[in-house]
Amino acid sequence: MIEHFFITVGDYFIFLKKVFSKPDKWNIFFKKLIFEMDAMGVGSMLIVSIVSLAMGSVITMQTAMQIESSWIPSWTVGFVSRTSIVMELCPTIISLLLVGNLGSRITAEIGSMRVTEQIDALEVMGINPASYLVLPKIVASVIVNPVLIIFSIFFAIVGGYATIAMTGCVTTYDFMDGLTYCFRVYDVVYALVKTFFFAFVMSSVASFYGYKIDGGALELGKANTQGIVVSSFIILILNVLITQIML
């Protein structure tokens, strides 16, 4: 068990070394990069915005309900909602959502190429399949995920604002006041740094599990589940570490 763990970790770093070697042809790399960014970004936009709207709405309602008391200033609702949305909910929850969405797509794509010997075909041609297939995906995800998170923050706050406007538990003026109260750019930087690392973990772990499949299509499902579980786990641990370091 422990031996297996260390072997897998070792394999993962050997895999990364293979991935981060110079692409054979830069123009092909950039073409693939643009393609991946388009597929990942545009493909996830809808689900990210829906989840963010709902999340922003719920967190605002819950906050408003908890602190309904006359001696707490009413801008607190906006302030607390914003802080939780920017610092934790969007970067972490949406990253976990993207693990299920983009990560599993990456594992399936690379895994099926492994099962049908397409990766072997690349290797025989003298192409480094890890770099050719995986590097554009990793680079695309560390660029696209932070952008998605910024959209997500925007939609979550819109969700919160709409909820306040409709329920009227505090005035929209107070809510806006709270949203902008003591705003620190560092909070956003912290969120984006987290997202960057989460995106790297998501895409590299998902690719790794697809790449190392040995066997038939049955393995594909297993690899998919493992990829999701392991990257979610690493993301949660990283979350604690990065928070400890940055705050």
């Binding site: 054979d24 042809k25 092909i28 190429m113 049908t116 010997e117 397409q118 072997d120 075909a121 290797e123 025989v124 041609m125 003298g126 192409i127 480094n128």
Partner: protein
Amino acid sequence: MIELNNVSKFFGDKQVLFDINTEFIEGKVNLIIGRSGSGKTVLMKCLVGLLSPEEGTVLYNNRNFHHLASAEQQKLRAEMGMVFQGSALFDSMTIHENVMFPLDMFTNLSNEEKLDRVNFCLQRVDLENVNRLYPAELSGGMKKRAAIARAIACNPKYLFCDEPNSGLDPKTSLVIDELIIDITHEFGITTVVNTHDLNSVITIGETISFIYEGHLEWRGDKDNVLTSDNENLNNFIFAQPLTQRLRQTL
């Protein structure tokens, strides 16, 4: 020339290849024949380095492939073309893009020259009007032929075909055999073909290595394959009623 010395391959405890010694000659079509499960595909994968044999050496013009630095290996591989048993076409690309792919990666030809080359290769395997289709939209035999077109796109010095004409009708099968022998002679390619198609054996087998349960049982060529006295080889060749009847008339 590709030379195999004492090659053995294990999967876990199971030994699949036993001490294989054989050679594949430049400018000739070299066949590896044997029954299903005898180890032909494993042997071919050892040749191209997708598997590493636990024992023995694979020499390309006296250079040990498995001991080359990876940059050297890549250079050698750019000169290889391989047709996999399951075709292994890239299914996110059209047939046109599949054949274009090695040209994009390894040549600096202009778009027009690449286009010409793609069409030429597809023509040679009798595949026309499929450029825009995806592999999933082709029949098994058409995929095979597209894979052959991809393998020859870059004028390889080494061509490996794992059962290039299984799943093809007799007529197309002949076309493929002719293509293989033509390009081998024309460009002096070292061609290695896995097959259990008897017709190929007696028409294009310029050297033949017969594998039986992982052992190299017999080496020869198409002229003496029908008259050998190796019992396993004869059981393999004369397994079907048609060939049995043929033997009686010989």
